[in-house]
Symmetry: C2
Subunit: 505 residues, 2 copies
Amino acid sequence: MDLRLKRHSGVPVYLQISSALREQILSGMLREGQSLPPEREMAHRLGVNRSTVVKAYQELKAQGFLHARVGRGTEVKIWESREKEASVREEPLDWRSLFNASSGIPESFFSEMLSRANREGTISFASGFPDPDYFPREIMEDIQKNLHRENARKLYLPSPVEGYAPLRESIAALLGHRGMHVPSRNVMILSGSQQGLDYVARSFLSPGDVVLTEEPTFFGALEIFRAAGARVVGIPMDEEGIRRDLLEGAIRRHNPRFLYLLPTFQNPSGITMSLERRREVLEIAGTSGIPLVEDDPYGELRYEGNRLPSLKALDLRDSVIYLSSFSKVLSLGLRVGWVVAPSLVIERFSRLKQITDLHVNTAVQMLLDAFLRQGHYEEYLSRICRGYREKRDLLEKSLRRHAREIPWSWKTPEGGFYVWCRLPEELSLRSFLSRGALQGVAFFPGGAFYPDEAGREKYIRLNFAHTALDRIEEGVARLARAAGESLKGHAPFLEEHPGGQEPLV
Amino acid sequence: MDLRLKRHSGVPVYLQISSALREQILSGMLREGQSLPPEREMAHRLGVNRSTVVKAYQELKAQGFLHARVGRGTEVKIWESREKEASVREEPLDWRSLFNASSGIPESFFSEMLSRANREGTISFASGFPDPDYFPREIMEDIQKNLHRENARKLYLPSPVEGYAPLRESIAALLGHRGMHVPSRNVMILSGSQQGLDYVARSFLSPGDVVLTEEPTFFGALEIFRAAGARVVGIPMDEEGIRRDLLEGAIRRHNPRFLYLLPTFQNPSGITMSLERRREVLEIAGTSGIPLVEDDPYGELRYEGNRLPSLKALDLRDSVIYLSSFSKVLSLGLRVGWVVAPSLVIERFSRLKQITDLHVNTAVQMLLDAFLRQGHYEEYLSRICRGYREKRDLLEKSLRRHAREIPWSWKTPEGGFYVWCRLPEELSLRSFLSRGALQGVAFFPGGAFYPDEAGREKYIRLNFAHTALDRIEEGVARLARAAGESLKGHAPFLEEHPGGQEPLV
């Protein structure tokens, strides 16, 4: 124990001792339960009178830092005493009253519902995750090894705010093969495309502004636009995508800041916007001077039909901010996405990146760059598309098998992850969710996907991609049982959710 | 080439051909420069008249998608033609006019200045980075290998919004050893502590609110608070930290939303708040019901003197949000930090994480957890502290050597990365920066650290940690030359900065 006393400092020696000990206790140098030397021994060590040490210990006992136990001497008792002190002497801060009024930050009803999806034995169609067993682990491990061998230093260095330059180039090259010819300086790496939505909101929205979207649309976009204080106005779709006859009027009426669209294998509806509709939407937005935010996390995952050009590829006015991600093709756990945008927007986003989280983890950027450059991507992509197609077909087959008991209906998506399943009007979704939890099956309730949540509880989103192939039929059977029970009017059943939230996408 | 024609669709066949080809060009199936079959051959393949194909090709040429070249037939020419089309026919969107009025997003004068610090041969004291050669690469590589062998599947899965549970526990244990006893549920993993500052701003600030800080203080905090529309009021420090005599009055006058403090090895001043001042500040804030945001990225890096308890460890009212990070101890490139906060705050932050970027990359969380659990941390920490101490001492020695030519002055920091160096009043910082760039030395100008930037251009921040030991003396010699030239009144020298911004910290 290292206590330095200043004989002539004017501070009484017992106070010097007590405050030095308190400091050591609070800083962790003296641990909970540790014994202090008996008073006599301590006095001897410090070269002071025993009564001085007694006084110092007494003060610390009074303050609740020490505790004398018969036969065990004097022990540090900080943890218990701090709790006691806190409850006796101090009024804890009322945090609830301190939060700002950003009512846009949503409560987590859905995350509570969905956390049950992780229960042992539950078959979940609820998440937005890809199949974890499709991830090319061996390839990635080899790449990691090579990177460690050849480039270990760089792996752990900071990288530029806009992203690791070679990865920006690899992504630009990939997009070029899809007909989207952009220089790599207009590609910026993000912590997933959700971060792009946040930056869009922070760059273009002020409270009270309007955003136009398809209806239904990705709830993660709804949440971030609302958190920025914006009002989201949804425009219904037909089989070719957002309805152009309603779009023009909505633009006139609402003067939106931008149009948010998921044109390919839309989340949740699965609808793909036709080429003609793409041109029309670009024309309408162009005439009105409205920017487009194109969200395209699923575009690579086509199981049939011809690939369509993105809005960004068709855009002649530099009016599209294009977002995509490795989350659906590889894994959400990587947290890497990107934005393609005009230079002014990239500049703004890189300022935001600097002040919100600096840059994306360097090692994962190098990993993905090597994966693309070594030419693994296209083969991997066709392999997983074959797998997902098989799952989609099996889900549909299973749904059809139960369609007589449960009159649900859906349209076949040409790609992506989701079957958007319409349920009978009389089915209560809350009851269905609870019954599903009891049966051991989870899904995403449709209401979350509507800008206006009221009165549309007749859809659910089923992700066929994440579920193992051999669990799909059983999962649908459980869905059918849960729906059947709910239709018979069983009461909803709710329970506590365990700690730790699954990310929702 | 796969063109399916519908004979009885009502759409003229030449239009079907041209639109199918356009679609293939735009989607990238037909590549730039690729030749189309001659008209006769195409007509034969499709079973249509040659004149129908001629008409289709003509239309695409008129639209700028195809180009006929003598001797080479008809080629796809999308890229050039799109650029032409864009310049001729379409008005590009005026993005500048579309941004919202969040004047708080700062322009990047400093990043432009600092990007020069990366030039070949420049000795930089400018960044906020640790020494990249201290990073325990071999240990991390071993851990990676083990993780791949034993836990490969999990590495690439999503993790909970609040962070990978074992890492939350490891960090809680580490904090416990520092006298901060918190349950792991009050520890949340973030993409660096900068993200914590963003979440603090998003949770507690509304436009017009006031934040109190030390003066000078970390510019990254200033920027994010300003971006939220807040006004930052700085309170000067003495050698024991923020001045308590000014703090009470400032709280009364400004009614701040919170107090932002960097009590240990402050960035940029290097000052460490005394234990007594810590208690006083907690008392004052407690009496006024003001929360404290404690930023502690450097606290582990002590080179002499006794460790002091954090504000969070001393707090009896649950009134402190504590932020820290692996950025300074290991590497910024990891992008992993954490917050310790009351449960209500963790809840709010996890909602923000869900809507802004979902969670932190799983693999890096598992890596850091293993590093802590396997007990490498403390040994590594003492090793790097010895190294940084040596660097600090050498920087000071070098500065003293030139103190007669350049009357600069500073106080020795007991830890952290920075010497906060006061310059003669008559030295123009802009000129010094430019002269430094020419001499091949970089530093961070002091003005950026003041809530009110005007008229305080007399300090610079020197990071001794990042620079290799054998470059420090030469770096200071260059500094002295640049300062000497500037004092003689050479004109400032500015140039274009290269692409790609270094993250500023």
